[in-house]
Symmetry: C2
């Protein structure tokens, strides 16, 4: 598929490279085309990789990934353009974390509304799926590095969009039964509020190479 | 050990019965001694079970469990008496959830401070361990009902107190390596903020009989 990855940070780079590796065409979107990080991505990822503005990338993509920082995502998506997101699967993998008062950061959810829900409200014709925000970028795209089965959540109001997300994840090496449906986009609230626990565990373990697995009744 | 269980709700009842079953003496504490739920507990749990006021139970216990509702815990512990908690291991298994505006509830953390941290601040001589709040009451005390290994977190500033918590948990059937140290009491923040995800998953699965397992690098 043609997948637009909005955001040139570590998560966008890691995801973009892996998407190209797993057979997709990827256009990385950023505020201005031709930036250093975007060009480095194109050079490293090789054939199938391109870059442009948020709007260029979103208009071109069949699927759009929001890998921008959670505190600027609404602005970045506005720059991408509502018309370029309409009807498309929008994978929101961002976390609205405010580190301005130090560690641990605060999860920013005005009136208890998650960023995933705010994005769905602001772009009602996009088919938003919150996913992958609950783990380290390298675990997202190389899930088999852990010692056993673990879980990646999907939350969204559109079942077909969640199926598209699942296909992309399976391409990364996730088993289909590791993709856990957490419910509608309202479940993004819990997925974002999980981050403080993840950060505590990272501190306790001294590594970000871990995840959680859902375990059900025997 | 002599374990005081403060709170006569479902969690207190389930935990109290299982503590008696696993060899402890248990005194259930409530606002007034001789209430219906506390007497029912004593009758059901049998030898080793008693009941009294919050203060009676806390004074008698070597370990104190806060199984009161999270929104009234500070008040209940004040009634238990700072002097009766001093030096003791205080297992805080409560969740500060406000359902007054419907579902999903809000996690109440004034200025980002968890209930576990507030309890530790209010009772500085108690040795607070946040644990067991991340799952259903029956899974807490019968962990082997799930299909594989899963995790129970402990967070607190006192390593010896966390070791006491681990012993109690192992008594319930948890494996020692399923008890995951999430860090100091500040990690209670993430443990409490995990509840919205737990509630979404319960809604999605249609059952509270599940938990998460931490999976680390292979």
């Amino acid at each position: 598929m043609r997948i637009a990855v909005l955001g040139t940070g570590m998560v966008g780079q890691s995801l973009g490279r892996r998407l190209v590796e797993t057979g997709h065409e990827v256009r990385m979107g950023s505020r201005s085309a031709g930036g250093e990080k975007a060009l480095a991505f194109v050079a490293e990822a090789g054939e199938g990789a391109s870059e442009g503005t948020f709007a260029d990338a979103a208009a071109w993509g069949e699927v759009v990934v929001n890998a921008t920082g959670g505190l600027v995502s609404l602005e970045a998506l506005a720059a991408a353009g509502e018309e370029n997101l309409a009807g498309k699967v929008l994978l929101d993998i961002s976390n609205p974390l405010d580190f301005s008062e130090g560690f641990p950061p605060k999860v920013v959810q005005p009136d208890g509304r998650s960023l995933g829900e705010q994005i769905q409200s602001a772009f009602p014709e996009a088919r938003v799926v919150k996913t992958l925000n609950t783990m380290n970028a390298d675990v997202m795209v190389h899930p088999r590095q852990l010692s056993g089965p673990h879980s990646v959540f999907v939350a969204g109001d559109d079942a077909d969009a969640k199926a598209v997300a699942r296909d992309v994840l399976v391409g990364f090496g996730w088993e289909a039964d590791e993709v856990v449906d957490a419910g509608g986009i309202a479940a993004a609230r819990g997925l974002e509020l999980y981050l403080p626990l993840w950060l505590s565990l990272m501190g306790s373990f001294g590594t970000p190479s871990f995840n959680v697995a859902v375990v059900r009744a025997g």
